[in-house]
Amino acid sequence: MSKVKVIPCSGIGKVYGLMAREAALTVTERLDPDATETVCLAQLVTGTDEAIAKVKGLPCITVDGCPSLCAAKSVEAAGGLVKQQYRSMDEMRFHKGKHAGTATTLTEEGWQIVDQFAVKIAQRADELHKEETANG
């Protein structure tokens, strides 16, 4: 049974890209390493056979920073099945007035937001993993 791919955009210009990256790594490295894993998005962008083999036909969750949805579009272009899209920017609605940090580092508040976001992503990944397991 393949793991659910959790793929962030890792955008480098704003805090939202960093939040997406850290939320995805929190899921794959801490919360649910047995059922999830990440994939280098830049490798998918190259479109090589090796890269496409990592996601083609497989369940993926994308975690983008902003409405450009770079991860979702790149994963779809590589043949991955995007079962759920998230945007870290949207999470800020639940944390009005908080300062998450910069594109380089997160504040303590930023880490709290990321941790809550990661729990949400991990729950969805768990559902998808169970569906996959049930479908064989």
Partner: protein
Amino acid sequence: MADQLVGILACSGEECLGGTLSRLATRRVMEVLRPNRAVTLCLPLYIAGGGEERNFAKAYPVITIEGCSKHCATCATEKFSGQVHDIVDVAAILGAEVALSKTVSGRDLTEAHQDMVKIISRAICAKMDAIV
């Protein structure tokens, strides 16, 4: 031209330490070492964005910062935008074993990781300064 803007494109790979270092070194160059000379772009915007992003390598000499020898930022840039001027390869500088080791979150960075970021960011600056 010492004020020539240079495009710095990190692979920001998620699967290994090299990708994290590529990203942190790029941020250090942008914020601390060469704040007025470096411009960057979210790499996956080549697919998601429009024509403007695809002109990046035509508008600036580009140095790609690669986490490992797969050189994804270079491949993506040359596929969608144009020739890359130079490459900084974390694996070539720190060794493949270090570059391909387990990825590290920002919350787990050690002093040793910060030293690696400094080494890579200095390598980026050396290549930037060679562009005249």
